[in-house]
Symmetry: C2
Subunit: 214 residues, 2 copies
DNA sequence: GTAAGACTTGATCAATCATTCAAGTAGCTC
DNA sequence: GAGCTACTTGAATGATTGATCAAGTCTTAC
């Protein structure tokens, strides 16, 4: 399939434009011009504009590990710090663009108002995959976090804080809004880490067993 | 000015449609039809579609207290509970619409990608007013919260959690996503409330003055 | 070499978009 | 009732939209 070149060029170009201008504000002509492709070719590969969006979302989903997580986690092994390393990556994206562009999935998520089920499904799949990665970090943190903590819910809350922080940073055109959200999330994590040994996890450095206090 | 009727009808109708379908997906013709107004009248009051959006955002801003805060806080006096009462109001809006419609300001904030300065300013003004109201609650909570807590930042974090929670609830079509975010925020608040007397705030109910400790 | 399939070309389409404008009506002042 | 302003009417405009399609090129197989 030699034309994979054209197909992927369309997807990558659309990914960029949807990120910069949004889905609705990006015309098919914009994509065609930027990708140097004729309309017939686009409609040879994709039934319509929306299917191009689906392909973009699938590419985000497929590239989550290699394009986002692995670069963000290079040299970072501590599972808790990995979470904040990932947030730092979004911070860079904001800072590099003067707080214009944040999370592409989040932007698309709030842009789609019609009940486009296939689109919504893929947005949800992207969020779910992102949250799963955080969830794994929280599981890797083991007993450093309270035993009765709902880690799946906390993982989703990390996404919540990220998306909400990005939204405010973009609106205020101020990276400080994002930093403030991360700082509050960090404060929350620190209380959880402080709280964990109090509730359970009796021995952290000594090895000998000890009975629990009633 | 007897035509205030037409003018406000346009704004209210646009408010509704922008909320339901977004700004970009709402055509001027949609607004005209729903408001039963001819195009000439619209352009008599507003130079263009964007100015209608500005008027909508101004109406949100002006009605924040009477339309949002006061109804949400009826019967709720505790400043901390007022925060969660406000969040509960957004929850209702989501639940009532099957998680279709969330915060109208947040939706518009992520929809606007172009550097429309006047629009962005008004979105920011709405967020700022919302955050100010939360900030006042946090100030009213007095010594129940840690003395060295950055209350302005925490207030912004409440907005962060709300917007992020709404985004996920809409994407997953699941009110549980919003509830989870609120639950985590509540857990964070509880650690702060638990933490406060430990750090400072010696007497809570006695009245006599006392010098600050250095 | 030729037939078939994969892909490209670019003009063209109808629909929809925000906006304009000349003509009209209603209410007010003097 | 004349004149003025405020507002309404609704057809028309030109630009842009997503999508179509017949004709063409290229590659591969036999």
């Amino acid at each position: 399939m030699q034309s994979a070149d054209t197909r992927t060029r369309l997807i990558v170009t659309a990914m960029q434009l949807f990120w910069e201008k949004g889905y609705g504000s990006t015309s098919v002509a914009d994509v065609l011009q930027a990708a140097r492709v004729n309309s017939g070719s686009l409609y040879h590969f994709f039934p319509g504009k929306q299917d191009l969006l689906l392909a973009v979302l699938d590419m985000y989903h497929g590239g989550l590990r290699t394009m986002l997580l692995e670069p963000a986690w290079r040299g970072v092994t501590d599972p808790i710090e990995r979470i904040f390393a990932l947030l730092a990556r979004y911070r860079r994206s904001l800072a590099d663009t003067d707080c214009f562009y944040g999370c592409p999935i989040g932007s698309l998520a709030l842009e789609l108002h019609e009940p486009d089920q296939p689109v919504r499904e893929r947005l949800a799949a992207n969020f779910a995959a992102w949250t799963d990665a955080i969830h794994q970090c929280l599981k890797d943190a083991g007993s450093r976090l309270p035993r009765d903590l709902d880690r799946r819910e906390l993982a989703a809350f990390v996404l919540t804080a990220m998306e909400g922080g990005v939204m405010q940073a973009r609106t205020f055109r101020d990276i400080g809004s994002f930093d403030g959200a991360v700082r509050q999330l960090r404060a929350y994590f620190e209380t959880l880490l402080r709280e964990a040994p109090a509730r359970r996890a009796p021995r952290a450095r000594t090895v000998h067993k000890k009975k629990e206090r009633p």
